[in-house]
Structure formats: structure tokens, C-alpha cells
């Protein structure tokens, strides 16, 4: 009955750090204690305070910029005719793209029975929520009068008007709202059994009450688990088409228009691939420091990084195909405006940005073909950072180069971001990181109950994706 009597996991094959999704030697109890200790008992590391302070300072920068923006107007940004969409839409698309990995990992990889998703899904989902929060900020603030944001929603009003559903911008409102809600539900549902664990293990009364309140009286009843698993599976099935639809709708914001470079049928798949690409790059960017500073290398193993690198490689190649097709269609369509758009990207005033994006998103990516690179944590971290940058540059190129020189040379112009564009962007990174630091401190970053089910004694013998044969459990 004591801790010593916990059954130890018998290890069938020698531990291979390159291919195992969980280090050996864990029991139900020890894995529970390890993950819950990050929240409950371990002293908050000094690095956490440092990181949180930095992130919070950036958040203050966002609050300052937003306050100045509300007091003055969007004129403090660099957007003007002909480039009416600048950093606001670039950052919106960038953040929404990042927000795609979480639900993809949770939903699609669940349906595909990729068991390695278990140790990264929780914080990837949290990352998704926070990225969507950052994304939502931009269109709202870009409206000029954000306090009237509810005009976007369909409700009977005294003006006798309704939102115009033939416009993709209204589709966006529905897509983003639904995505934020479903992502939140998915994340919260996954947290309930772990909140119950924290409730049962918290020593201080206040935390017991708080976690207990959120756990809603979860007690792990077999009947509850049956319905819970059904609900989780159904949510995954619903979230899968939703993930694909959200960035499709975002791409419609561009593709439905007739601007050269935007009016292309390849946009939806190209945007979805780009979203998954940037999302996995961000998961990698966050997972690598997280596993190092919190000593989670046993749980987030090299196998996870390797798999994520492979997904990045696949989606990055799809994105590269998108770039190629944009250029090909500009030539093949024979449309002079399309043709000029590509030449302007290659040689115009924003050409360095276009070349930089090709280097980051397509060039550097090729290193991931090498297994040696995929085994190097530093290389993966560097590549993931470059992909984050590259995907941001991609959105810059899409938004700005198409708008700044379209049909009439007399209406050409240049877009130059102001200091407030930059403070807003840095500030949104601050918001993202602040929320992430709070999440790491207050909630389990790895799904505890799913990790328990990963232990070899419960793993089904035929479980694909397990790296060790499931041994018959031994009793000590």
C-alpha cells in the first residue's frame, strides 16, 4: 500500500532514447508525481520569474500601444492607401497559423492513433488558445472603433441591418469564434481528470478548492470515462474539419478578392499547409526549452522532436510547392498583372524579404532530411525559429507586395511600418508568453492521465506507434 509497493514497469527492450516515446522505469504513481510536482510542490524556478517578467513587460508594451491606439486612431500605424492591410493582418494570419498545431495534434493525431501526441498535446493546445487570443486582437483593434465589435455579430438591432454573409470577412468572424470556442472546450475537457489529480494532491486548502471547483467533482467513474472518451473522440472528429476550415476561411479573405497574387484557388490548401508548418515550428520552439528547463526529457523525448521535424518537413515542402505554383500560374495564366506581381516580388522594393522567406521556409528546411540534424536539439531549435520568422515574412510578402502595386501605377505606394506597428507586434508576443508562463506554472503541461495509459503495462500489444513491445505486467 505504500509507494514502495507500486508495481515497477518491466522493460522488455533496452531503452533507446532515439525511438522511445517515454523513458522506462515510470509507474502510475511516479509519472503522476513528476508532472503534478511542476505545479504543486517544486519551487518555482528563478528562470520562470525572469521569463515571466520579460513577457509581462512586453505585455505592458501592448497595453500601452493599445491605449494610445484607442485614444488616437489607427493612424499611428503605417497602414494607408494603397496598403490598407499591414501588420494587423500579417500578424493576425501569423498567429492564427501558429494556433493550428494544437488542435491538429489533439484531433488529427488522435484519430490517426499517433500515441506520441500524448506528451505534447496539452501545451500545444494551450499554445493554440493563446495564439488565437493574440490573433483575435488584431482585427478588433484594426476596426478603429473596437468598442463596436459586436456589430460583427448577427443580432436584431435598431439600425435594421445584418452582417453581410457574402463577404469572407464575416465568415472569418464565425470561423475564428468557433475555432476559439472548440479549442477551449477541447483543452478544458482534456484537463478535467488532471484537475481532479491536482485537487487530490494539493496540500494547501485554497488550491484544493480551486482545482476542485474546476474539476467539477470528477471521480474517475468507469461510466464517466466511457462517456468522456466518446465525447473526446467526437470532439476530435469535429475539430479535424474545423482546423482545416479555419485557415481556409482566412485564405478566402485574400482569395475571394481580385487583387493579383491573392485571387488564386491554391490559397486554401497552401494556407492550411503553412499554418500547420508554422504551428509545429512554434510547438518545437516552445517544447525544446520547456523539456530542458523542467527536465522533461523523459516524457518529451527525441522521438517527439524527430516526428515533429518530419511533419515540418512535409508541410514545409507543401508550402514550397505553393510558392512554385504561384510563380507558375503567374506565367501560365498570361495575365500581365499576375506576371508583374511575381516579378515585383523577385526584383521589386520588397525583394529582400521575399528571398529571405524562401531561404527560411524552403532552403533551411531541407536540412531536416538529415537524421543527424533531426537528432540535434540545437539545430532543431534554430530551424524552428527560422521557420517562425520565415512564415511571418511570407505573410508580409502576401499582404504587402500585392497591395502596394496593383493595377494602376498611378496608385502605387510603399508600406512602412511605424514604431507602433512594432510595439504592437512585440506586445502580442508578450501577451502570448505571459499566458504561457502562467499556464506552465498553474496547470499540468503534460496530460497526466493519458501518460498513465501510455505505460507499457496498459498499452495494447498491437499498439502501433509504441516503440517497445507491451510486456506482460510483472507484480512485485
Amino acid at each position: 500500500m505504500s509507494e514502495e509497493k507500486d508495481r515497477m514497469v518491466e522493460i522488455g527492450t533496452p531503452f533507446d532514447p532515439q525511438s522511445a516515446i517515454l523513458a522506462p522505469g515510470y509507474t502510475y504513481a511516479s509519472i503522476t508525481d513528476k508532472i503534478s510536482a511542476l505545479v504543486l510542490t517544486r519551487r518555482t524556478p528563478r528562470g520562470w520569474f525572469f521569463g515571466f517578467t520579460m513577457a509581462f513587460l512586453l505585455l505592458l508594451l501592448l497595453l500601452f500601444t493599445a491605449a494610445y491606439l484607442l485614444a488616437t486612431g489607427v493612424g499611428i500605424w503605417g497602414v494607408t492607401v494603397p496598403v490598407g492591410w499591414g501588420f494587423d493582418i500579417i500578424n493576425f494570419v501569423w498567429w492564427i497559423g501558429i494556433g493550428h498545431a494544437g488542435t491538429l495534434i489533439s484531433a488529427i493525431l488522435l484519430l490517426l492513433r499517433q500515441r506520441w501526441r500524448t506528451s505534447i498535446n496539452r501545451f500545444a493546445e494551450a499554445m493554440t488558445l493563446f495564439a488565437v487570443a493574440c490573433a483575435g486582437l488584431y482585427p478588433l483593434l484594426h476596426m478603429g472603433r473596437p468598442w463596436l465589435f459586436y456589430w460583427l455579430l448577427p443580432y436584431p438591432n435598431t439600425m435594421g441591418t445584418w452582417p453581410q454573409p457574402r463577404s469572407p470577412l464575416v465568415w472569418d468572424v464565425f470561423a475564428i469564434t468557433t475555432y476559439a470556442t472548440v479549442s477551449f472546450l477541447f483543452w478544458f475537457i482534456g484537463l478535467i481528470p488532471d484537475l481532479a489529480t491536482l485537487r487530490d494532491r494539493a496540500r494547501r486548502r485554497l488550491w484544493r478548492i480551486l482545482y476542485g471547483f474546476l474539476a467539477m467533482g470528477w471521480r474517475g467513474s468507469a461510466r464517466h470515462w466511457a462517456r468522456y472518451e466518446m465525447a473526446y473522440l467526437l470532439l476530435a472528429g469535429l475539430a479535424t474539419p474545423l482546423v482545416v476550415s479555419v485557415h481556409t476561411v482566412v485564405s478566402f479573405d485574400f482569395a475571394i478578392s481580385i487583387i493579383p497574387g491573392w485571387h488564386a484557388t491554391i490559397f486554401p490548401p497552401y494556407f492550411v499547409a503553412g499554418a500547420i508548418y508554422s504551428g509545429f515550428a512554434m510547438v518545437m520552439t516552445l517544447a525544446i526549452p520547456l523539456r530542458k528547463f523542467y527536465e522533461l526529457e523523459d516524457l518529451i523525448t527525441m522521438k517527439h522532436l524527430d516526428n515533429m521535424a518530419k511533419i515540418m518537413l512535409a508541410t514545409g515542402l507543401l508550402v514550397g510547392y505553393g510558392y512554385l505554383m504561384e510563380a507558375f500560374m503567374a506565367w501560365y495564366s498570361g495575365n500581365p498583372y499576375e506576371r508583374y506581381m511575381i516579378l515585383n516580388r523577385l526584383r521589386g522594393p520588397y525583394a529582400p524579404i521575399y528571398w529571405a522567406l524562401l531561404v527560411c521556409n524552403v532552403g533551411v528546411l531541407q536540412a531536416l532530411w538529415s537524421a543527424r540534424v533531426r537528432r540535434s536539439v540545437r539545430a532543431l531549435f534554430a530551424i524552428a525559429l527560422l521557420v517562425n520568422v520565415g512564415m511571418w515574412l511570407e505573410r508580409f510578402v502576401i499582404v504587402v507586395t500585392s497591395l502596394h502595386r496593383d493595377f494602376l501605377p498611378s496608385s502605387w505606394g510603399m508600406y512602412r511600418p511605424t514604431v507602433f506597428d512594432w510595439t504592437m507586434f512585440l506586445g502580442s508576443i508578450g501577451l502570448f508568453l505571459t499566458l504561457l508562463f502562467l499556464f506552465i506554472r498553474l496547470l499540468p503541461v503534460i496530460s497526466i492521465f493519458e501518460m498513465r495509459a501510455l505505460l507499457p503495462e496498459v498499452a495494447p500489444a498491437s499498439g502501433k506507434g509504441t516503440t517497445r513491445p507491451a510486456e506482460a505486467p510483472t507484480l512485485s
Binding site: Y28, T177, L185, M216, R223, A226, L234
Partner: protein
């Protein structure tokens, strides 16, 4: 300790998922029906062993999705055809292809909401009080221990006989649950 007659049931503790599963099957075969098992993660076959076979959740989710889709379409039809007809880009008022993205999103929205709320409602959550939490060892149900509860309401329940039965199943301990 004074003998109490009003208990909620007997709670048996096990240290492995196979054991609680076998115990649940034996108890069911013995004729016990009002029982439940508590585990730190879903154990395959355990709910079935307790006599739980189907959940109505999928049909709820289907209905939620259909409701959401119908609501979305009705909203757009009313707004764009009846209440506020506006010619945009020469398209007809009832330009259904443009309605599809929003109808899709409202379908998913309501289906997902009914999955979550339906699961919580069918499970009777949130539940602020439940007798099993009166057993101090029950805190381990969310860590590494597996529990089988036979309720006193069960017609076959007998305080002594049931206790002996549970102990014979290989339980590490059997506790009386205060109501």
C-alpha cells in the same frame, strides 16, 4: 466504534487495472448491479463489465450539429432574403453557396458544445458532493489505485457478506463509505 447502519456502500481497493476489471466481472456475475468502478485512466472493458453498454452521447451530438446547421441557415436566410435583402455583386438574395462557410461553422459549434455539455450532463457533473470522497484512500483514485464500489442500495448488498466477497476478490482493502 458504534455500529452504523446507514452506509453508502463498500469500496474495495485494487492495485492494477486487470484486477479491478476481473473484480467487476465477478461482482456482476454474482448478481450485483448497483456498483461503480473508479480508475485513474480509462480501463478498456470496465464500463461494460459493470453493465454499461451504450451512451446516448453520439445522438445528442448529431442533433446538436443538425440544430446548429439549421439555425445558421435559417439565420442567414432570414437576414439576407427576408429582413435585409441587399444586392451584392449581382448575386441573388438567396445565394446559398456563400452561406456554406457560416453554416458549416455553426454546425461544428453546436455539435461540439453538445458533445461537451452532453457529456457533463449525462455524467451528472458538476457534482459538488459525492460520498466516495469520504474515504481518505480515495484520493489515490486519481493517481495509481483502482476502486470498486458496491452500493448499499443494491438488493444483494449485505454488509458482511459483501465485504467478505470483495476481500475474496483480492482487494488490498475494503472500506465502508459514509453516505
Amino acid at each position: 466504534m458504534a455500529e452504523r447502519t446507514d452506509i453508502y456502500g463498500l469500496l474495495a481497493e485494487f492495485n492494477a487495472p486487470e484486477k479491478v476489471l476481473a473484480a467487476a466481472q465477478r461482482a456482476y456475475a454474482e448478481g450485483y448491479r448497483r456498483m461503480d468502478a473508479y480508475t485513474p485512466f480509462p480501463v478498456e472493458g470496465l464500463a461494460e463489465a459493470l453493465g454499461f453498454h451504450r451512451t446516448r452521447l453520439p445522438i445528442l451530438v448529431l442533433l446538436g450539429g443538425l440544430f446548429g446547421g439549421a439555425l445558421g441557415y435559417a439565420l442567414l436566410y432570414y437576414a439576407e432574403v427576408i429582413d435585409y435583402p441587399l444586392i451584392v455583386g449581382g448575386k441573388p438574395f438567396h445565394s446559398w453557396p456563400a452561406f456554406i462557410p457560416i453554416v458549416f461553422e455553426t454546425t461544428i459549434f453546436f455539435a461540439a458544445l453538445s458533445a461537451v455539455l452532453g457529456m457533463l450532463a449525462l455524467n451528472g457533473l458538476p457534482m459538488p458532493y459525492h460520498p466516495v470522497f469520504n474515504v481518505p484512500r480515495f484520493a489515490l483514485a486519481s493517481r495509481d489505485r483502482f476502486f470498486l464500489l458496491i452500493e448499499a442500495r443494491d438488493p444483494k448488498f449485505d454488509r458482511e457478506a459483501t465485504r467478505r466477497f470483495l476481500e475474496a476478490l483480492g482487494a488490498d482493502g475494503v472500506w465502508e463509505v459514509e453516505p
